[in-house]
């Protein structure tokens, strides 16, 4: 497959601080690519480099094989949906969408035809003469998308455009964006700090931290096989137990916790030695509220702090070995009432837990 966006060793420094630090990426044509990271990780800077509002200090940006470093933003085959959408308040919806076509000197008749068509495609037929301020949040979102898509860009950049919407609408728009991307076949580069947005919509997700990519993988791989403790912690909910490595066999590490209990999990990387400090990550849904069901399963005794009812996402908050753990509380009747301050057994399949060496050891 051709790649629509190909970057090598991009660096952008502000003073001595590198906001983007040796980032390389390769986005195949027609895919939905997300860059996920906490605020301040450099993802917005990266996006501005791609859009041309900023120049990299080092490294190259290629779009469809063309080097873009010196190309000003208005000449790049790249369009952007801004965080606050940046719909022109002095223009109608139709004029907003037609803006880019006007700049390309598309004749008026052709222009209005294309504006009408794209409005239909995003599900807002006939709204050309409205003022953007009269639209709802979700409608504005679609106008901002239409304004870019009407230009048929090689690459569409999206800068956390769902951040301003309320929760329910955001859930809807996630799915809709995914459908629109499939329908138009345009390559999307989407940046967000919300891991659920990235997971639901993307073909590939790059997790970014301190100006660098920690891991680039499909969402499921990120979730099941995180390559760094940061990814394990940042993507999805996770529990962390820290202890000392006391046993290693067949890729399974045994950890001694402060309470004296022993737990085990799969090693993320080979090379951990007995005696090192390490962290074990186990997802709340992987914790079973029963004593070890099979041989080789790890188990831990914990005391319940409280239960958090949230429908399908209900959890038990418990404490074990001085550390807080969350376990999923199935609502199908398979688990009885869990009273606060009672003691429970937590167990898990070690293959579902991941062990990383603690930073600095």
């Amino acid at each position: 497959m051709d790649s629509d966006l190909f970057c090598t060793d991009l660096i952008r420094r502000f003073g001595s601080h590198a906001a983007v630090d040796r980032v390389s990426l390769d986005v195949p044509a027609g895919t939905f690519f997300s860059i996920l990271g906490p605020s301040g990780c450099g993802k917005t800077t990266l996006l501005r480099l791609l859009a041309g509002f900023d120049r990299p200090d080092e490294g190259d940006i290629h779009i469809r094989g063309q080097r873009m470093n010196e190309v000003p933003p208005n000449r790049r085959p790249v369009n952007m949906v801004f965080q606050h959408l940046a719909l022109f308040p002095t223009m109608s919806v139709g004029d907003n969408i037609g803006y880019g076509l006007r700049r390309k000197k598309v004749p008026a008749a052709e222009r209005s035809k294309r504006v009408a068509r794209v409005l239909e495609q995003v599900g807002l037929p006939g709204l050309e003469s409205r003022n953007p301020q009269q639209l709802s949040g979700g409608q504005r979102q679609r106008v901002a998308l239409a304004r870019c898509l009407v230009l048929e860009p090689t690459l569409l950049l999206l800068d956390e455009p769902l951040g301003a919407l309320d929760l329910k609408l955001r859930e809807q728009m996630k799915i809709e964006l995914k459908h629109l991307q499939k329908a138009f076949g345009t390559t999307f580069v989407y940046i967000t700090h919300d891991q659920s947005e990235a997971m639901v919509m993307s073909d590939q997700v790059a997790v970014m931290r301190n100006g660098q990519f920690d891991q680039v993988a499909p969402p499921e791989t990120l979730y099941r096989a995180p390559e760094t403790p940061f990814v394990a912690d940042f993507v999805g909910d996770n529990n962390r137990l820290s202890g000392e490595v006391v046993g290693l066999q067949e890729g399974i590490a045994e950890l001694l916790l402060a309470s004296g209990e022993r737990v085990s999990g799969k090693l993320a990387f080979p090379g951990l030695k007995v005696g090192q400090r390490a962290n074990l990550f186990i997802r709340p849904e992987s914790l079973m509220l029963t004593p070890a069901a099979a041989t080789g399963y790890a188990s831990l005794r914990a005391s319940v702090t409280t239960t958090l009812f949230d429908g399908a996402n209900s959890r038990v908050e418990a404490e074990a070995s001085g550390q807080t753990l969350f376990a999923r509380l199935p609502q199908d009747g398979s688990v009885g009432r869990v009273a606060p301050e009672s003691a429970i057994d937590l167990s898990w399949n070690p293959q579902l837990a991941t062990v990383f060496a603690e930073a600095g050891t």
């Binding site: 859009a51 208005n74 952007m80 965080q83 803006y99 003022n131 870019c148």
Partner: protein, 285 residues
């Protein structure tokens, strides 16, 4: 004090009475001035002798209406010309200043901003006096030392325009800068992103955004110039603007023609204000 805090009814009554008295105080002088423009008596005072339009249209027969009073009409025309130039120059300068202070970063910006505000805290008379001393002094010196006549620098319309521009520019700058401050820079980036060059982006996105404030500033500049007396009186030469001419008439004694001019001024300002407000509320929608 506020709606949700209970108030006694006597307090409410007192408050409303106060409001009423206030608005009577506010409107009485203007209402009275306007009324006497239509009184059929040669002196603006009671008793009421009946309605007349003589003070606008009469010619001869002891009464000269406003529209046949050449002195006032030419003064009106002088005011219009002055206000036109003042508006043009002040709004142009105001736009440039607004961009300078809102968009650019440079050393000493804070200091320059405070200097920009200075004309607001200088009394109008002083502003007029200093410009008179500077330019007329220069013209006097040029005349006595080298025999060059710099008539532009003698009291007259160019100096009047200069004196008014000195402080009206600050007001225009403040109005336009306030609007520019609310402009989202991302809109310009969006325009670039959609294929516009920086110049095109400025004219298609930023300028339309500023337009309401530019119209507002222009209307304000025109009114301020038209009504200014303190600065103008120091700088005026043989062509007197309307306010100065009215002042001179008033010192000779008041006639209902002055009331007629006052009504004309009020109506003119009201029309201008309503036009601008209509425009700005339209663009706000």
């Amino acid at each position: 004090m506020i709606r949700s805090v209970p108030r006694s009814s006597s307090f409410d009554g007192l408050y409303l009475t106060y409001l009423l008295v206030f608005f009577v105080y506010l409107s009485l002088p203007l209402l009275v001035t306007a009324a006497f423009a239509f009184n059929d008596a040669s002196f603006p005072s009671l008793p009421w002798k009946g309605f007349t339009l003589d003070w606008y249209f009469a010619e001869g027969s002891g009464r000269t209406g406003l529209f046949h009073d050449d002195g006032l009409l030419s003064a009106l025309w002088v005011s219009v010309i002055v206000a036109f130039w003042v508006t043009l120059i002040s709004v142009a300068l105001g736009c440039l200043n607004a961009i300078l202070f809102e968009r650019l970063e440079f050393r000493g910006k804070e200091l320059l901003y405070v200097i920009m505000l200075l004309p607001l805290v200088i009394p109008g008379v002083i502003l007029g006096v200093s410009i008179l001393v500077f330019y007329s002094g220069m013209a006097n010196d040029a005349s006595s030392l080298w025999g060059i006549e710099l008539d532009v620098f003698r009291p007259g319309l160019p100096l009047v325009v200069g004196g008014q521009v000195a402080f009206i520019t600050t007001l225009c700058t403040l109005v336009i800068a306030a609007r520019l401050r609310k402009f989202d820079r991302q809109l310009e980036e969006a325009a670039l992103n959609l294929g516009a060059t920086p110049v095109v982006a400025w004219f298609t996105v930023t300028l339309p955004w500023l337009l309401p404030s530019i119209f507002g500033a222009a209307a304000m500049a025109f009114l301020m110039s038209f009504e200014n007396f303190n600065t103008t009186v120091m700088l005026t030469g043989s062509d007197t603007p309307l306010t100065v001419a009215l002042f001179n008439r008033l010192r000779e004694g008041s006639t209902p023609v002055l009331n007629a001019v006052a009504v004309l001024l009020m109506v003119g300002s009201a029309v201008l204000a309503v036009l601008v407000m209509g425009r700005s509320s339209e663009s706000a929608r």
